[in-house]
Symmetry: C2
Subunit: 404 residues, 2 copies
């Protein structure tokens, strides 16, 4: 007998019918002899509808009131799910974020969980109930309702699993697990049995949308075994845990890719006047996220700096830089759109220095130009033309034999 936390996203509770299937899944875990906590998101597109109303009212709706508004979404789901469980003959109780004892810092729309007082959940579990908790939301010390931002329900699930020392936290979603790469584009993509936290973190950060990096980080810090699995099937998914049993696995575990990347290049007036830190301070002040950064100095006394941004941030980026052109000592600004980032990820890379070279060779042999490179201990990212993105992923998937 263990304690299991199950998290279901919006599409898994999008209709009364799907809520019924979600209830069945919770009942299945309960019948295995487990204590069961279910964390749920708002139903399907219901959050979008609330956001649309708020945007009718204001271009920048007040954040406190947005949290007040959006937190109703999960509250509707928990009520309907608990109702369904009871209708199916199982004792259940729903709790909002604040009723579940989820205390957050005093930040609206993107709060972090500060503490969990799990007394109420524990009492309900001890009374034999299936506990249904609203994800994505909490309460500040001043009794203000907050939301946790993107990936918030995953974070709620992991935080509750941690506070209650759960044996497992299963993130139930519309895919059957984490794949070696996106199966919509690469047919040979294969479901992974296991991943380390760090591998999952890199994959999540590199655009593999299954899990939000924040929840993986949380799980890593508190050593909560995570399972990514299909919502309404019994098939086991992908386990994410520490790398104890992985010595014999492949060096490269997965391939992530995303398009809509733009490279911006700054040519300095002279190399003595490179205001590199000032550039990134300016961009950060304007909430522009920069990804890969490369700095080059030519022998002629000139220097340049390249970095990638999401293409959607290009206009804002150019505006900020043009405005400060003199201050930053910029001679010329260039940008190249229609790029993509293709990355390989695997914990084993640390001790296999040849992996990066193998990657570049495979791409070059297939006439895929590499525009930029960025490496970390467990990943190598390359920037390639967007039209070559899927081909690059396929080439690398073959090269590192991820289908085997």
């Amino acid at each position: 007998m263990g304690l299991v936390v199950l998290k279901f996203g919006g599409t898994s509770v999008g209709t009364v019918d799907k809520i019924g299937k979600t209830a069945d899944q919770a009942i299945y875990e309960k019948k295995q002899g487990n204590k069961v906590i279910v964390v749920v998101s708002a139903m399907g597109k219901s959050t979008d509808k609330l956001v649309a109303m708020a945007e009718e009212i204001s271009e920048a709706p007040d954040k406190r009131e947005m949290d007040m508004l959006l937190s109703t979404g999960e509250q509707i789901t928990i009520a309907l799910l608990a109702m369904t469980l009871k209708e199916k003959g199982h004792d259940a109780t729903s709790y909002t974020g604040w009723q579940a004892g989820i205390e957050t810092e005093a930040v609206h729309s993107n709060a972090r969980i500060a503490d969990i007082d799990s007394a109420r959940i524990e009492a309900a579990l001890d009374a034999g109930q299936i506990v249904v908790v609203a994800g994505f939301q909490g309460l500040t010390a001043d009794d203000e309702i907050t939301t946790l931002g993107r990936g918030g329900s995953d974070t709620t699930a992991v935080a509750i699993a941690s506070a209650l020392k759960a044996d497992k936290c299963a993130i139930c979603t519309d895919v059957v697990g984490v794949f070696t790469t996106d199966p919509r584009y690469v047919k040979k993509a294969r479901k992974l049995e296991q991943l380390t936290y760090d591998e999952m973190l890199e994959l999540a950060n590199l655009g593999a949308g299954v899990l939000h990096p924040r929840s993986v980080e949380y799980a890593k810090n508190f050593r909560i075994p995570l399972e990514v699995r299909a919502s309404h099937e019994q098939e086991s998914g992908t386990m994410i845990e520490e790398d104890l049993t992985m010595e014999n696995t492949k060096v490269v575990r997965g391939i992530a890719f995303e398009d809509q990347i733009t490279r911006v290049t700054i040519h300095w007036k002279q190399k003595e006047a490179m205001r590199v830190s000032k550039v990134f301070t300016k961009l950060a002040e304007n909430n522009i996220d920069v990804d890969i950064i490369i700095q080059g100095i030519t022998g002629l006394g000139h220097g340049n700096l390249s970095f990638t941004i999401k293409t959607s941030a290009l206009l804002a980026t150019l505006a900020v830089l043009e405005e400060s052109k003199e201050l930053l000592q910029i001679e010329k600004l260039e940008s190249e759109q229609e790029l993509a980032k293709v990355s390989i990820v695997g914990s084993g890379m640390v001790s296999n220095p040849g992996v990066a070279a193998q990657m570049f060779e495979a791409l070059t042999e297939n006439n895929i130009p590499i525009k930029m490179i960025s490496t970390s201990e467990i990943k190598v990212s390359t920037v390639v033309p967007a039209r070559k993105m899927v081909e690059a992923a396929q080439v690398l998937h073959d090269q590192f034999e991820l289908d085997k």
Copy 2:
């Protein structure tokens, strides 16, 4: 400078546009130099949608979870209204029932307010904010979300007005005030300037749908002046308060009527065996509301008992009585449908014994048969054929010169 509580029902906040007009009304009161609290219901038909989902899940959805579900409706409205007020340049804060300190008894779907801890509202008012509170909901001492049942938002408004010793509580609705009778049926109906609590209570109980009796009772107990008025117009409505300035007003103040009434008659086997109290105990156990009751005994040793119910309760009533026919010593059951109740209301009746006779005469003269009669200190109700209901109201409106 005073303290004003404004309550807006579902139709007054049914769209983003109407929420804007509601905000304007609150701002108008604020600009008059008042501290302003706005209590709101769920948007338009949003509660119906939630109920429909719950009914898809269960024929009798769990009451605790229904409260969890339905309380989201007002929370959406308060967020949107506070957002709108801020967008219009006025400081505002929204509070759910529990944030507003509304403590209720531990009953789901129909809880009574036990206490209000108004500290948080007062602090926000003192800080110059317009305070927006979710009606219809509260929290038990055990931190369980409850709802107040029908007319709940009115009750919330009156209770807050009482706790904060407000100078006025305005119930803003889709009519401009309380009328002498329903203006949809009687063209000469006239808006009343003033009513006593008791008169309003009788009118509310007799089917004049403007206010729920519970909120009027609350206002009466705590001497809160109530105004019933139009949501989005400046015109003043009907004031409901103690009868200080009313000596010269008419004896009859208003006429209420409702159809869908059925009379049930029980013929006893013998007059010694009339199980009158047992009948009403049985009906109450089955949640059947009985209105007018008349008992008659003929000289021949037989007796009968008649009472009215809503026609929608007829099948249930007959089933209960048939089942206990032997136990209750019932010889025969009869029922007459398509009846209506027409009532005259006025505080002055107590000291004017001729009023009832005047009513019966007017009806008889106009060939409207009176099937049953029931009186209290400030009202007389008659049961008449449903097809004669509107005519009866018109006749009485003329008879007591309510148009003048």
